[in-house]
Amino acid sequence: MAYLDHAATTPMLPDALEAYVAAAAHLGNASALHAAGRGARRLVEEARESVAADLGARPSEVIFTGGGTESDNLAVKGMFWGRGDAEPGRRRVLCSEIEHHAVLDAVEWLERHEGATVSWLPVDAAGRIRMDVLAGVLAEHGDEIALVTAMWANNEVGTVQPISEMSAVCDEQGIPLHTDAIQAVGQVPVSFADSGASALTVTGHKLGGPAGVGVLLLGRDVPVTPLMHGGGQERDVRSGTLDVPGVVSFAAALRVAVAEQAATAERLTLLRDDLIARVRHAVPDAILNGDPVNRLPGNAHLSFPGCEGDAILMLLDAAGVQCATGSACNAGVAQPSHVLLAMGADETLARSTLRFSLGHTSTQEDVDELIAALPTAVERARAASAT
């Protein structure tokens, strides 16, 4: 079996699993005042400090959430409302066309239900956000903008964006930038302070921690309206009793992922480049999508002209090779990827893609298995498309 879908979720790191089990055995509500509560709180605050240190943030900037989707929604909706409350004229959101649905759908919801005006930021053929368009919109509409949201690295095609450059131009006009860094953390260096972003999303299950635990790094002076009301446990911005083992395990995973980032990146880049070269050798008309240089070390995203990604995926799955088409499903029916469409692909090409994503457990054997199974799968998928 070859698991080539680490961008969807990656196995828990041993440290994270151990930390989870140890913390799960503890009794205590981190908000309680007695000894048990203090014990739980200590675990949470140590985790917070550890996360802050690993991501170049201050502990007070770390807000624990129920995962990446929640962090993205909190940032996008919370910052839109928060800024709009202070300055009612700011109702415009700038959003890249290649965001994950957790951001994209939140922005579209604001447009439909909250009267937001959206400026969609286009990307070039390699999936790089067009800085000239960003600058143009900022110049034209600077005083109407509530926030800019642009992902650090794309989950489908792996293109890495110049986030600090973007936040610098936003900052000139006092406009906050949120970045979804879910795919970036552990793969490329990420520092909240150096990025200049006002808010940054991370999730546990993409870096060797548990699913259902995430973080929103949020600048101290960024106004945010909470989405969930209750006990105000996290800086009055996020309510709900904290998942202590989840938070502790998240911090343990992040610690390892960040400490080993450089070595992991080097190893995965070699493995990934080998994978791409061998796929192209096996299927000469395969096309590599995304930025050839500034891309996530573990990401190989390819189009197979004349095939449906779905069909190859099924055949590879039957051969024990697990990968993704990378695009979202609607009722189980694969949709053409909005990311590929934004990059200028037509619908047919946008349906012909597969994403192979590597992670901490990936080996040369995984690539070998893929290369052994791929040619037959592509040939059959091509025949099926012709029926």
């Binding site: 099924m314 025949a383 099926a384």
Partner: protein, 360 residues
């Protein structure tokens, strides 16, 4: 064999997939997404293409322990089944969409794709049997679906597996429960899966448009009422005619024929429905061998309809059935299916599309 099990989300296809897996086949489950917009089709447990059905199918596949995928067949289904359904009614005929779906989707588009992808056969939960390449009725005569499968040719049949033909529906449900399949108690789907509320006339009117016309007595030529579209009527229909005047003989009237050109629905007494000669075209011989000599057989003229002893005469693309006793309510567009009675399950010999019928 490497087989593809079409899983609708119902109990039959779930048990069929489980039986195929147990028989040692390498089974992959596939749910066919047939609606362009999954929410627009029937909600609840009656249909076959809702999100809930897709989830039920996936859940069953997980319990059986087979891979599961959704195939998007919406475009093909619309062109070949839904549009054809509307066009047939508009032309004054009465189509059978389940039969068309088997002919054009399940054992054509899906089968072709499956074969290209390396599968040997398609498994479905139809109640019918294939032994030694011969299509036969199910042991459960009440649930038998051989009529809607009779359009398959020998090549299609050679790549079809129907694991349920030798058990009854009741046994299917019991077996589903034994296997821990949650769909064991799911109500049967019936009617037409793409007409969400079961209102066929409304569905057709929406697509063809209301076209008021006369309802005419076949014998006297008297106008007995008005209709909103001749397409909404079926030969043999008695109810819902909305006649404004009684017929001169005071007896109930039945739809005898539909004439789209003049937009008239012709009605008459029950006896006038009786026919002994049924004509059809485009015969499909399930064993691939066209018959030239007259054949003594039984013909069935609609789904779940009664059978009639007949002599079948085929001449190239045309088939005529001479019935021993009259049949009533024979509609153009339906299939005429010929069976050879057999103690081990009637054998399906051929099917043809009915073009007309008359009194001999």
């Amino acid at each position: 064999m490497k087989v593809l099990a079409a899983m609708s989300g119902g109990v039959d296809s779930a048990v069929a997939a489980a039986r195929a897996a147990e028989a040692g086949h390498d089974v992959t489950g596939v749910h066919l997404a047939l609606s362009r917009n999954p929410q627009t089709y029937r909600t609840g447990a009656r249909g076959c293409c809702t999100l809930e059905d897709s989830r039920d199918a996936r859940r069953a596949a997980d319990v059986i322990g087979i891979p599961f995928y959704v195939w998007d067949m919406a475009e093909r289904f619309h062109e070949d089944v839904v549009d054809d359904f509307v066009a047939e009614y508009a032309a004054g005929r009465t189509p059978n969409p389940c039969l068309r779906c088997n002919e054009k989707i399940k054992f054509a588009a899906v089968l072709d794709r499956a074969v290209a992808l390396g599968f040997d056969a398609v498994v479905t939960g139809h109640h019918a049997r294939i032994d030694a390449g011969v299509l036969r009725r199910s042991v459960d005569m009440g649930k038998d679906q051989s009529y809607v499968l009779a359009v398959l040719n020998s090549e299609q049949l050679s790549r079809a597996i129907f694991p349920l033909g030798d058990i009854t529906k009741e046994q299917v449900r019991a077996e589903a429960a034994e296997r821990g399949l949650a769909v064991a108690d799911k109500p049967d789907s019936h009617d037409i899966c793409f007409i969400a509320d079961g209102d066929t006339r409304g569905f057709l009117t929406e697509r063809i448009g209301a076209k008021p016309g006369d309802i005419v007595d076949g014998e006297s030529g008297e106008v007995l009422g008005e209709h909103n579209g001749a397409f909404a009527y079926t030969v043999g229909q008695r109810h819902g005619l909305g006649l404004t005047r009684p017929a001169s003989d005071g007896k109930p009237r039945y739809v005898l024929s539909i004439t789209p050109v003049s937009n008239t629905v012709t009605v008459g007494p029950r006896e006038a429905l009786e026919v002994t000669i049924v004509r059809g075209k485009r015969p499909i011989w399930t064993d691939g061998v066209a018959r030239t000599e007259p054949i003594e057989c039984e013909v069935q003229l609609r789904a779940h309809g009664e059978v009639h002893a007949a002599t079948l005469v085929a001449d190239g693309d045309e088939v005529t059935a001479h019935l021993r006793a009259p049949a009533r309510g024979v509609s153009a567009g339906q299939a005429m299916v010929a069976y050879l009675p057999d103690g081990g399950g009637d054998v399906v010999l051929a099917s043809a599309t009915i073009t007309g019928a008359e009194r001999g």
